[in-house]
Each structure stands twice: as C-alpha cells, then as structure tokens.
Symmetry: C2
Subunit: 359 residues, 2 copies
Amino acid sequence: MGPGPSDVYPEVLAAMARPTIGHLDPAFVEFMDGLNERLKYAFQTKNTVTLPISAPGSAGMECCLVNLLEAGDKIVIAINGVFGMRMLENVRRCGAEPVTVEFEWGAPVDPNRVEDVLKKHPDAKALAFVHSETSTGVRSDAESLCQLAQKYGCLSIVDAVTTLGGIELQVDGWGIDAIYSGTQKCLSAPPGLSPVSFSEAAMAKIRSRSTPPQSWFLDMNLLTGYWGPGAKRAYHHTAPINSLYALDEALRILQDEGLDNAWARHAANHQKLREGLQAIGLEFYVAADYRLPQLNAVKVPDGVDEAAVRGFLLNEFNLEIGAGLGPLAGKIWRIGLMGASSTEKHVALCLEGMQAALA
Amino acid sequence: MGPGPSDVYPEVLAAMARPTIGHLDPAFVEFMDGLNERLKYAFQTKNTVTLPISAPGSAGMECCLVNLLEAGDKIVIAINGVFGMRMLENVRRCGAEPVTVEFEWGAPVDPNRVEDVLKKHPDAKALAFVHSETSTGVRSDAESLCQLAQKYGCLSIVDAVTTLGGIELQVDGWGIDAIYSGTQKCLSAPPGLSPVSFSEAAMAKIRSRSTPPQSWFLDMNLLTGYWGPGAKRAYHHTAPINSLYALDEALRILQDEGLDNAWARHAANHQKLREGLQAIGLEFYVAADYRLPQLNAVKVPDGVDEAAVRGFLLNEFNLEIGAGLGPLAGKIWRIGLMGASSTEKHVALCLEGMQAALA
C-alpha cells in the first residue's frame, strides 16, 4: 500500500509465467493486436499509436519528450511535485527550452496561471503536466489544461502513471496529444512497462521532425514499425514477451470490471480509508477537491517518528506504506489504494496497523 | 531455436511469478546485493558498477554509448553486422563523431584493420564492437580488440548480448571498459533487461562529464545511486521487480552449472548440430574459426524457399528458427542453441525437422 508497485493479481503473475515465445512468432503478433485494443480501452482512445514502451514509466516520460521536442523547441512545464521536476530534467537533456510554472507541493496545477504563461510564450510548442502527482497525492484538472494547450496551439503531454485505471481519464475526450503511464500502479501488473498513446497531431509532428529523436530505443518512428498501426512487425528490439503477457492480463481484468466500476471502487475505498483515518485523528495533506483516491497523502502528527511507523507496519503487519519526498519528506505518509490493493480488506488492514502504530 | 528469446527454464518462469514487493523494501534491497554478485560472476569481473538496466539489450547499448560519449567525442566503431550498424545509429544520435571500420557480413572484425584506423585517429576516445554478432553468427576476437583499445588510449565498449553464458567472456581479464548483454539469449531468462558492467576508467569518464548524458532514464550517475556500489538505494525509477527475480534465478542456474561447463555444453551441442547438418548436406556460412556455437548461420541451399522451411518447422515441429537479416536475408537460416535451448534434445529435434523440411 505504498505509492506502487501495488499488489499484483494472481492471474497476472500466472500470465507472466507462461512460456516465452518469439517476438516475431505469428501467435505473438496476434496477441499484440489484442493488447493494442485493450490499451485503447484503458486510455479511452481511438489513437492507432497506442502501445507499451519496453521499460518503466520514467522511460515512457522520456519517450514522449524526446519524440515531441527538437533542440530549441519551447515547452511549458507545470510543476507541482517530483514528476514535474523529472519532466524538466528530461526537457533540459533534449536541448529544448523549458518554461516552468511552479506550484506548491500538495496543490494542483492552476490552469489560470498556466494560461498566463502560455499567453506570454506564443511560440511554445507543447504543454506538459502531471495528471496524478504520485509524490503528493494531487490530481490536476487535465481536461482544462488540455483545452488551454489547444487554445494556444500547443501539443499536450500528460503524465498518467498513477492515473490509468484508478480515476477518470479520457484521452480522446480531453484532447490529450501524448500520454504515458505505468503498469505497477492502478493496473496492478508488475513494474517494467510504460503504456503510451499519441494523437494524430503528435504523430504528425514526430514524422516531420528535421532530426531523429535522440533516443534510438524510444524512437516512435521505429517503434511503430513493430507495433503498428498497419505494421509490418519489423524487428526493432526484442519485446519483453512475459511482461507483455502480464500487462495484457491486467488489462483484461480491468475490462471485465469496466472502467467506470474500477473508478468507483477506487473512490469508495478512499472514502472508507479517509473516514477511518480521520476517526483516529489523522488528517489529509491535500484539499478534498484535489485528492487522488489511489494515493492518500496523510499528515504525520507532531512528535511522531514517521519512519518508525513505516518500519512497524512493515515488520508487524507486513504492510508497506510510502514516505514523503522532497519538501514533504518527514511530513506525510503516502498510502496507496491502487488496483488490486484497492479493497476493503486493504483499508481495514491499514487502519488496524495505523491504530496499533500510533497507540 | 531462433536468435533469441531462447527457451526459458521452468524455475526462471516460476521465479518471475513470485509476489511483487516494493523496490525499496529491505528484503528487495538484500536481493539486489545477491543479484549484483551473481552478475559479476557471469561477467567475470570485480567491477562494482555491474547491474541490470531496466530495459532490453538495445537500451543497454544506448546506455553504454550515451554515458561514455559527449557531443563531438570521436569513437571508432567496427561494423560486421546489424548490431554494429545499430551502434553507429546510436552514436550519431549522441552528436558524437563516429569513425567506422566495416567488414563483410559473416566475417569477424579484423584487429589489424582496426589498428590502422586507431593509428590514424589518435584523438578517438573509444572503440566499440560486437563480440557475438547475432545477425551473422560470428565471434570476433574481443581480447585482441580490447588490447588495441588500451594501446591507443581508448575505452572499449563491447556488445555481449549473445555472448553472456554461451562462450568465454572475461571482462576483467580482457580489460573491457563497458559491456552490455541481454537476458533472453544464453542466460535463458525472458527478454526485458540488459546487464551492464563498467570499469573504474569508464566510471571516471562518466563522473567527469561536462554535460549530463542525454538520457535521464539511462544516466549511470543516477542509476548507481540506486544500484550501488555503496548505494543509498535512492529511488530513481521503479525497478522491474519480477523480471529481476527471473534474471537472478537464471544466474543462479548458470552459477550452479559453472561458467566453464556452460561454455563447454554450448560448444558440444554446436558440434553435434554441425555434424548432423553436414550429414544432410547443409553448409555453415561462417568460417569454422569464428563460428558462434550458440548461433549457427546455415546456408540456404540453391532452389530452397527459406521462408517455407521456417514455416514448416514452426507448424509441423513447433520449432522456431531465424531468418537472415540485411544482405543475408534469404541466404541463411539462424539456428540458436542458447542456454536452456542448448541441449541434445534440441539438436535432435532440429535435425529431424530440417531433414523433413528438405526431403
């Protein structure tokens, strides 16, 4: 119950242990088509370029940025936590020109302040932000931010690592141009892959680059030769077959439950955790309107040794919760209720553990 | 029995399905120490920076090149197949200055010609080459090439994707500065990770760069903060827990067998395959002295439809073998005898299948 990896469904672990076959085997190619379709459902998109990057979420972030930016391109980055900072670090390494809009950690991105910056930088090519800031438990208003990107002629680049499968996400409905996620949060597959999706506008930009992206491994022009659409399944790198089996099974479970039901379950278990924690005197760090149900930032009460509490939970309850990062280190715990870890049983165990730890 | 992924040991698949735990869990941190030691054994190195990159072999290649090269650095690349070409592609994207030495596909890298080029380019910072060219089945003389690199003041960068666990490799003994491999060849773990190792000289160069490497995800200065040596286990990205379980189990199997025994087994099964194929009139593409026992390039006889043979083997014998690539497309088959797929049973099945296919 930390900030991820979440518990993995037994069916997903079993799928991961299926015999490895070749990445060009006709049976595997057929499997890829099904995985593509299930990913599109999870992202709520018709984007034909929707595929899993063969590396964790941080590589998905790098993939979106190195493909969409060329040296000198201006990009506005909204930063309200660790992952916005990481976007900035990646943008610098692309030789692109970042313009940052910073917000307090624990607060959401304010679209009004972003709009002010977009007005001042009409030459910006992209707007990047984190939908679900895993470092603080904050949800920002992705729909409004994507509308602003469109209004000011920018491509939108969205971090949805902790979003996917946990709270509402509408890639097509909100007009997201490039998005990356992870497998180890609300999808409850093991860590190691990063699902991404690119709109037609984003792919047009990538296809018309004057220089190839600086990463060969993450070059979307090459990756689409293997993954599609209409792909010749041309060898690029050896796909991580077993990890893809696991992701596909996790997406199948999500599809069986239904996205709406999964979002409602995450909301309901968050509600139960909130009531229980408040009953033992604990407070949330993030304002109610912006709280992520899947990642609960809880204030460490005065005088409590936060690391000792985490150690106690791990040793006595076999339960992992997360620490605060950066300016929030020592100030908050981060309690995940993601995917297979968003159940009444998890909530009850966590409440029992916290009560014992603080007694 | 293609060019990889090879068959995966059942124990490795079982390890991959173990419950996922956190990447900062003390139990996982202890596990990482054991994995580090087993990787050092496989590479035959005391390099403290020996770790698995969280992505396939192509990302390991990119990792070595983007960390060791800065814009404008000159590097000599020996090219005798697909993976030397891929090195060149990566080097170009680093803004470094490649000097290529090209060899016929199917021939090894000739150290004499490499030395001529190194003499002409005393400002070269690195020499890169592929030890086991998976595209052609050729072994080059890594020991001599690394000696040349040292003689001319270059760091050596070695592709050992298909080498590790299959034929002799001495990272310290041969003076290799940076090396990358894969999990899905002679280690017989599923694809998805790339073990790498860096000498102290390579790390000194990386630590003293004037600019950070262009990839954040592959930045060794950040990765060593998590993997060591003496690491604080600082979070960089979420490690692919289950894939690491699998790699560790595969390395444990290799250690139990012993490197010398594994190399001898690969050599013996190659010998049996060679005798059997020659008995049915098939010839090898590569000269005997440079043949990889784990990747057998076999000439397609005149008048035979090479794709039809592969289709027949897949459908009738449930057996995958590989096609030729680039200039060797249509001219060779590539038959892998790697790791768990290097057994007498595999040799017998392949011979039976080839005999039936060509009858």
